[in-house]
Symmetry: C2
Subunit: 249 residues, 2 copies
């Protein structure tokens, strides 16, 4: 991992549907890419079930070891949506009606549509700051360094933009990918040498076997473009010597 | 979560490429579905970077709190593949050449192809049991209740079948999904009543907004088909009263 990291985050995916394998999580990738772009590195992801004690314990651990914690899931209107109440308990804060959230949803829904289920979504920890939802009304919320977002990927995506001013990151984490028509074992030793010579750059090697194509992607990551360029040159140098075909760079 | 669980597992995804958002993890869903089919429930998933101490600490925690631990990633030939050595350290076992793995790869590759990179893949913790790889030769391994698989999804998939006899599960975890043309708030209260009346069945409610379609999937999970059927009837009863359209059941 990068040695010169400035800010880090963890992501907590809350939901039985991910653990059962029924639903493929895509929020991790969405949040991680967005965080990278504002200079925040994701150090850990956890997926846990909709169990109150598990949520409380995990939130209280992760919010202390990382600069930021992002949770997804469990803030809707049904019985299995227990994130907001669990977060209230994690922070020892009352779980109560959030006035601003009430006003937003009162304006969003017609009077007879603002039913009991929807009214559940205005209950939050006291002092919560809202995260606005341009897609479907019901806001997420933020307490200290914890940001609670919904599980539906399209809604989550639409809410990240509004968060930018709340997250203080470092320099964006840059990356460069070199894709080769080879197998990992052909380049393993030379790549180790490049990594050893460039310890503050993160070099990953990822083989792929898909759609009849076989190859390796080398990913170079750093906050410093010059360091990436130096690594990239060193890699392309040994690739050339080995007469390996470069598919993309 | 199901109250009558018998065996549980955790999944540990090892790899910077997932944390950076570059690669979308699909192995969680693959492993979880397969485990469900043999009666093992996934209680937690973690994604961690390629850092030795983090791997050692996380493996030693998860293998103690769950019946099984499945790791993915980090068992290839390159410098960032440090899972096997880290697992050796987690178990305080020597990291050494595995004779059977050597024989397999010696037979798999032509003599001049069995290079230094590939030879890295025969290094494992002492006493490791091999997990055979019908796709690309290099085996995974198992120590006690820890099963180490590769990160490439197609290879991982091909290796699960061979594991079946090593995993003792319970009754398969069954599920039934009812898909409705509605929004969660319309069914939230009635669904809570059904869950309250059927505490040992897991009922999840999952809204979707995709491809212009809006709806809710209700997923009922249990090891007991009769309990699923009872819940399903109760849900379809209130759905009928509310005149909500059933898309699929």
């Amino acid at each position: 991992m990068l040695k010169n990291k400035k800010k880090n985050a963890s992501i907590l995916i809350i939901g039985n549907e991910i653990l059962s394998g029924r639903t493929q999580d895509t929020n991790t990738s969405t949040i991680a890419k967005w965080l990278n772009s504002i200079g925040v590195k994701v150090d850990e992801v956890r997926v846990i079930p909709d169990i109150e004690n598990t949520i409380i314990e995990t939130v209280n651990h992760l919010r202390k070891v990382n600069d930021y914690l992002f949770t997804t899931g469990g803030i809707g209107p049904t019985h299995d949506d227990i994130t907001a109440e669990s977060i209230s308990k994690a922070f020892n804060l009352p779980y109560e009606v959030h006035k601003e959230a009430f006003q937003i949803l009162e304006a969003y829904y017609k009077k007879d549509e603002f039913n009991e289920g929807r009214q559940k979504m205005i209950w939050m920890p006291r002092y919560a700051n809202l995260i606005l939802n341009p897609t479907s009304g019901a806001p997420g919320f933020n307490i200290e360094n914890v940001f609670c977002l919904p599980g539906v990927p399209s809604i989550l995506k639409s809410m990240l933009g509004g968060l930018k001013n709340k997250i203080i990151g470092g320099d964006p984490i840059l990356s460069h990918t070199i894709t080769l028509k080879t197998v990992e074992s052909e380049i393993a030793k030379s790549l180790t040498n490049v990594q050893d010579d460039n310890m503050d750059v993160e070099i990953g090697s990822y083989p792929f076997f898909q759609a009849g194509k076989l190859g390796v992607s080398i990913v170079i990551r750093s906050e410093d473009q010059l360091k990436i360029d130096k690594c990239s040159s060193e890699i392309l140098e040994f690739i050339k010597q080995k007469k390996i075909e470069v598919v993309d760079r």
